[in-house]
Symmetry: C2
Subunit: 462 residues, 2 copies
């Protein structure tokens, strides 16, 4: 955090002219990979690689120093060692650069000498009021502007969810999980050591970033847990924030300290202050992505009353274990809904138990029966959102079109739990999600996703 | 449980001649789907569909009754309504059938009349000392004998893990998760209402089933929790048992009762007695499959000391949250290991912190460096098993061959956490797992898998 007021991170995410320090021509170096990332990601601005000894890398002309670059740059990515990084940062500040990413490690996570070096880095940044992402960071991605600056060249589907991660590895795990889930990512921020830009600064920035509608956070620890929780809680009034806090065990500090130099702190403390500020928390990468997915795809429910439609009871039992502790209620269906259900099902033998969760057993496979039941439950005034469970079957097809129609008619949140393997569910995932209805394969993830919707739905209601 | 002593379930899993009651020619009926399953699964014995009015279904001659079948059958699958099922069971008993699966619901899960009907079913079964799977069950799969009797026709890879599930839907979820994980299944048992064959009977049977080496259980509740835990604990001396207990919330009974007629009971009670009997428990389908996978692929470690090799620190921090509470220890590396590591890495800038977890940062991508470090850590006398973290990268390839070689040389358990999406990791998953080294994409699942290995490794040590 530099000085008072929110920090402008826009030059870092939407640059027009970028300098990359330390671009060599060997594919095993960070500088090379970052240039590769920028090109591969489809950046449409101008990029200026800098290296004292190289002429050309990956088809780009290389400049000897920032002074040699023919025009002012908005932002710079510094891929030099920890010492040279501080020097380059000074040059950036002097040249009027508006934002910097420092990828090198070797700072406070390595001990006393590193701490001193990081202090110099921060002082330099503050002197020029220069926002610095990192050091010790994977980098950032802005899918809204095709700007990829990590040293893992990739191209991921664009969407409305932005991720902030203290760890590059966990950030990548979340990104790849999002790929599996068919969830597009808007921005990714690897905060690393948070030297002068902390989680709270990133949250403040994303609060006002129009292309982001949901924020997911992976945090190991921060020097100011209270500010983090307060900011997350504030931002969440405007767009949902989901937090995965790791470093829960008592001696976690020893592992987080040598990672990004942050203490993990007390997990119960984090949990309690996040709860106090009304922030939804999760316990795994899978849950983080599932919660963000539901929040990105679906409107918030008007209440906490969850309907469950299924043709197999077990998933409902599993879901309860997540829904109930999250404050969800499984309401009774209205009499008129029961009548409609009877009408749709006809006479079944054994009779279908007419309650919520509604288990239509064998009858539940049929396209029109299942679609009709979904519609009837969504129309029920007692039901604020619906979880529709369906199992992959060789004979039957998931009534995806019927589910979409039922959702559109009632405009209440609908989450589909399609029990199947990734490959065989892929096509239905795409079909449903193109229409805005998220598909999950695990009942646990479906329930966490529903809990996230209910959490923010209830919070908005006050 | 019928009478004293273990029940012989072999005729149900390895039949030569099977009767299927209630086979109609409409693809929306259970009988049809079960016949389809048997054919699709590649059953090599003889199958006799039974129906009073049909002549031929799916190319098979249909018999009017069991009396019309030209030879005695070993087992029967009854796909009739709940009332007719009891009559057919009586006929099976009289005809000397050795085992029966009853698919129909409509028994104790539906109320008093159903309870009375189920008592009649049990009395009939006991009269003939006839083991009955179900009623209210998806059926069973025996991949060791290509015998698929569920009403979800499918064909899954064969392996050494057998699953027992109270819920068909969760059973299918576990099966599809196993498909995603590249984990072969040996047997699947949908126990349903557990009328006269309970979890404990199935565990007893699988204990002596040579083709099963690991058992996974999904349970909502059983009338005899103590017997369940005791049996699981006993069987686990011979082969690992992993239990996922659902129905954890206080009012879970109301949902499990109408599912399979079993009370969920007190979750803390289940947790405590399972722990007392030394049974490893998990909290989700994903964890159930991950734990079974590690146990199926890898030898048990000689102790609880976990080495972690990575080139990104975050996953290690996440793993600690699972490993530490499970009793795992993160030991210091031996001096000679540190020397070897130094030799392999050479001079790095910033210097690699020489400790466990060993984060080789950028250097860790290299095939020979990573492979060498894995080998050095596995050779360390302080390390009982190794978790190797690697992130999918466009430039670098997972050093799969090197990891396999390191594992073979030391014969200590090795789990690979390859951070990536399903599609892009698929090939490495197959390559590694063909060589017996399991690949997981989520650090949480890797850690649970390691905890399962450590649990049973320590238990065997005493």
């Amino acid at each position: 955090m530099i000085g008072a007021g929110p920090v402008d991170l826009r030059p870092i995410f939407y640059p027009k002219r970028v300098a990359v320090f330390g671009v060599t021509d060997t594919p095993d170096r960070v500088g090379y990979n970052i240039l590769q990332s920028i090109i591969f990601g489809g950046f449409t601005g101008r990029v200026y690689p800098i290296h004292p000894r190289h002429q050309q890398v990956l088809g780009c002309k290389v400049y000897k120093s920032l002074a040699n670059v023919p025009e002012p740059v908005d932002m710079a990515i510094i891929c030099l060692n920890q010492f040279a990084t501080v020097e380059a940062l000074e040059n950036c500040g002097r040249a009027g650069v508006k934002g910097v990413i420092c990828s090198a490690g070797g700072y406070r996570e390595t001990g006393e000498a590193g701490r001193a070096l990081e202090r110099r880095l921060v002082e330099t940044a503050e002197k020029y009021r220069l926002p610095v992402i990192g050091p010790n960071t994977l980098g950032i991605i802005n899918n809204d502007g095709n700007f990829y600056s990590t040293f893992y060249p990739l191209k991921i589907p664009a969407g409305k969810v932005s991720l902030i991660s203290q760890s590059g590895g966990i950030g990548l795990a979340a990104i790849h999980t999002a790929i599996d889930e068919g969830l597009g990512i808007n921005k990714f921020i690897g905060v690393g050591n948070c030297a002068n830009i902390d989680f709270a600064d990133c949250l403040d920035y994303l609060e006002n970033d129009d292309s982001t509608t949901v924020i997911g956070v992976f945090i190991e620890g921060t020097s100011d847990a209270a500010r983090f929780a307060r900011t997350a809680g504030k931002v969440a009034w405007k767009k949902p924030v989901v937090v995965y806090k790791a470093g829960r065990v008592k001696d976690a500090d020893q592992y987080t300290q040598t990672h990004t130099g942050s203490a993990a702190g007390s997990f119960p403390l984090y949990r309690d202050i996040l709860r106090q500020h009304g922030v939804f928390t999760v316990s795994s990468i899978a849950e983080l992505v599932a919660a963000c997915k539901a929040l990105a795809f679906q409107p918030l429910p008007k209440g906490n009353r969850v309907g469950i439609l299924t043709h197999t009871a077990g998933p409902g039992v599993v879901m309860m274990d997540y829904l109930k502790p999250a404050g969800c209620v499984i309401p009774a269906l209205l009499d008129q809904t029961i009548s409609r259900v009877k009408q749709i099902i006809g006479s079944a033998d054994p009779p279908v138990v007419l309650k919520n969760p509604l288990d239509a057993v064998g009858l539940g496979f049929g396209r029109s029966v299942y679609g009709g039941l979904a519609e009837a439950m969504l129309a029920d005034k007692n039901v604020d959102l619906l979880l529709a469970v369906y199992c992959l079957h060789q004979t039957w097809e998931l009534p995806a079109a019927e589910l979409i129609a039922a959702h559109k008619k009632n405009n209440k949140p609908l989450l589909v739990n399609f029990i199947g393997n990734w490959l065989d569910c892929r096509q239905d995932q795409e079909f449903l999600q193109t229409a805005g209805v998220p598909l999950f394969t695990a009942p646990e993830k479906t329930a966490v996703a529903a809990s996230a919707l209910v959490h923010y739905g209830m919070r908005q209601k006050g």
